[in-house]
């Protein structure tokens, strides 16, 4: 559609009472020789008084002129818009046209109506039609008898749960959650090393059930997963339980309604659930990493559907995880960890930090196997009731870590193969050594959970932690 480049454009619809009222004004403008084209969104014969009218049946003109309210009167010079009056405001119309005494007998001011082009479903369809060229992903045409949810399953795009069909409309809506170019490449996604663009992430975020405002978090998580130290390929391929866990810090967690409180590691919060799921679907679909294919997990764990939560920073006695890891205060970030399953710690008796630290350490020693030190990293999620014990005693997070480390030195004689009647363990040469359970920097501590319950959670890592395998990776969330 060729749009006017000079003169005046009015966009109206008969369904709008204000448009009906200003129809004579439009005729008046045309009568005074103003170069005016009137676009009608509904009735091709409206307004009858104006000869130069166009039926904007497909709303392309409305969309391209960015009309939100009818009537709108625009002035164009050299293809550029140099002024716009919205609704009926006599002064605005007079200033825009340079004509005095317009609309004699009309009130000075009357609000317009919503443009048809911004009705929710219409707006998405228009975006798909006129901005669809921004999308580069292959278009899959469904068969006439295919049910779209089932079609997504049949093509292998699902983790087993229903997915939201990624129509161009939904993907464009998702992409409004970021300022980034859909074509921007984030990297090569293992295991197939397929190029992973912002658009591909957005498509998978649609599948996962994300809202557009979650997309920046999903993008940051994807980029973190692609960083070399995270070792995504190996993490996917391992026979161990682990998969990527996403911890979200900073203001975005609250802005998008993430859960860091009751049942923080569990189900029921859309942001937590769909962000973690989106990352898994990106790995599955873009990277081609599927169970039984490159994913060789012996048992896996339910966190491989989705494992994402926010740290409770407001209620925490300690600095947030992201700040510990170098992100400025007040900024949002994701931290990825190669997480196995959740192991609960019950301690309802400790009222001193010394006792509680020893208690947590005793449980941490069992990660992977009590006789296997320096093998895996871990996350300790300290709940509010446990954190209170440390807070009241004035223990910093560093102090807690130090105390835990002191309890987590495993005597070699207890750890060697055969000790305790258990064949598993360290080679005999370690019998005289004192062995730290975790490598330096291998134990992360965060604060989350409901207000009641003297329980904390240990999230074991992958028995290929650190340089040999996966390091936790933190990345700032941008728009």
């Amino acid at each position: 559609m060729a749009l006017p480049r000079e003169g005046f454009v009015a966009v109206v619809k008969r369904d709008c009472p204000t448009c009906v009222v200003v129809a004579p004004v439009l005729a008046e403008l045309a009568g005074k020789g103003l170069p005016l084209v009137v676009y009608s969104q509904d009735d091709p014969d409206f307004p009858e008084e104006v000869a130069q009218r166009v039926h904007d049946a497909d709303l392309e003109a409305s969309y391209r002129f960015g009309i939100e309210t009818v009537p709108s009167l625009l002035r164009l010079e050299g293809g550029r818009e140099t002024g716009r009056a919205i609704g009926w405001v006599r002064g605005d119309w007079e200033a825009l046209t340079g004509l005095e005494g317009l609309g004699a007998g009309l009130p000075d001011w009357r609000p317009g109506c919503g443009s048809k082009s911004v009705e929710p479903e219409v707006a998405d369809a228009l975006a798909a039609r006129f901005e669809g060229h921004r999308l580069r992903a292959r278009r899959i045409e469904l068969g006439a008898l295919e049910e779209d949810w089932e079609a997504a399953h049949d093509r292998g795009w699902s983790d087993g749960l229903p997915v939201v069909p990624p129509t161009p409309e939904r993907v464009l809506r998702m992409l409004r959650g970021t300022t980034r170019d859909p074509a921007e490449e984030l990297g090569a996604m293992p295991p197939d090393l397929a190029p992973c663009s912002v658009e591909k992430v957005a498509i998978n975020a649609v599948l996962a059930g994300c809202r557009p405002e979650y997309l920046p978090v999903v993008l940051a998580a994807t980029e973190a997963a692609l960083e070399e130290p995270f070792c995504l390929h190996g993490l996917l391929a391992t026979t161990w339980f682990s998969g990527p866990m996403v911890v979200v810090n900073g203001p975005i967690a609250r802005e998008i309604g993430m859960n860091s409180g009751v049942n923080a590691l569990g189900q029921g919060n859309r942001a937590n659930a769909s962000i973690g799921r989106a990352l898994q679907l990106v790995v599955r679909n873009v990277g081609g990493g599927r169970p039984g294919g490159v994913d060789r997990a012996t048992l896996g764990q339910p966190g491989k559907y989705s494992f994402c939560f926010a740290e409770d920073e407001a209620g925490s006695p300690w600095e947030p995880l992201s700040e510990e890891r170098g992100v400025a205060a007040g900024r949002s970030a994701v931290t990825l960890f190669a997480a196995g399953g959740v192991q609960g710690v019950l301690d309802q008796q400790s009222r001193t930090p010394e006792s509680l630290a020893a208690s947590l350490a005793a449980c941490l020693r069992a990660v992977c196997h009590p006789k296997l030190p320096i093998l895996t990293d871990a996350f300790l999620v300290v709940s509010p009731e446990h954190a209170r014990v440390f807070q009241e005693a004035g223990w910093s997070k560093a102090r807690l870590r130090q105390e835990l480390a002191s309890h987590l030195v495993v005597p070699g004689r207890e750890a060697v193969r055969g000790a305790g009647g258990i064949a598993e363990g360290m080679p005999a040469g370690f019998a005289e050594a004192d062995l730290p359970k975790f490598r330096e920097g291998g134990l992360q501590v965060v604060h989350a959970g409901g207000r009641a319950g003297m329980f904390s959670a240990i999230i074991g890592g992958w028995p290929a932690s650190g340089a040999v395998g996966s390091e936790p990776v933190t990345r700032e969330v941008t728009t």
């Binding site: 999308l135 992903a137 292959r138 278009r139 899959i140 045409e141 469904l142 295919e146 779209d148 079609a151 997504a152 049949d154 093509r155 795009w157 069909p165 990624p166 129509t167 161009p168 993907v171 996604m189 197939d192 397929a194 190029p195 992973c196 658009e199 591909k200 498509i203 998978n204 599948l207 679907l281 679909n285 873009v286 990277g287 081609g288």
Partner: protein, 94 residues
Amino acid sequence: MSEPRILLDPTGELAPARREAQPRLPGLQGRTIGLLDISKPRGDVFLDRLAQRLEASGAAVERYRKPTFTRVAPDDLRREIATRCDAVIEALAD
């Protein structure tokens, strides 16, 4: 006719968009072949002959029948065929 429904491909696009046919069976010996009669008249004539030929080639034959040719096969029937057979031949006869 309504406009085609389009989904955007979420994958790395390394595989063809159209689904490929299952690979052919390497042979019939020892295989179980389902014969699905869609309930059109004289489908059985065709399928009886196919059964003879298949059995002569060393395949076991299982016979199935849709309740009506007007509707897709019930889930249970499809599941049974998928569970018990290596391949299925659906006969449209009239």
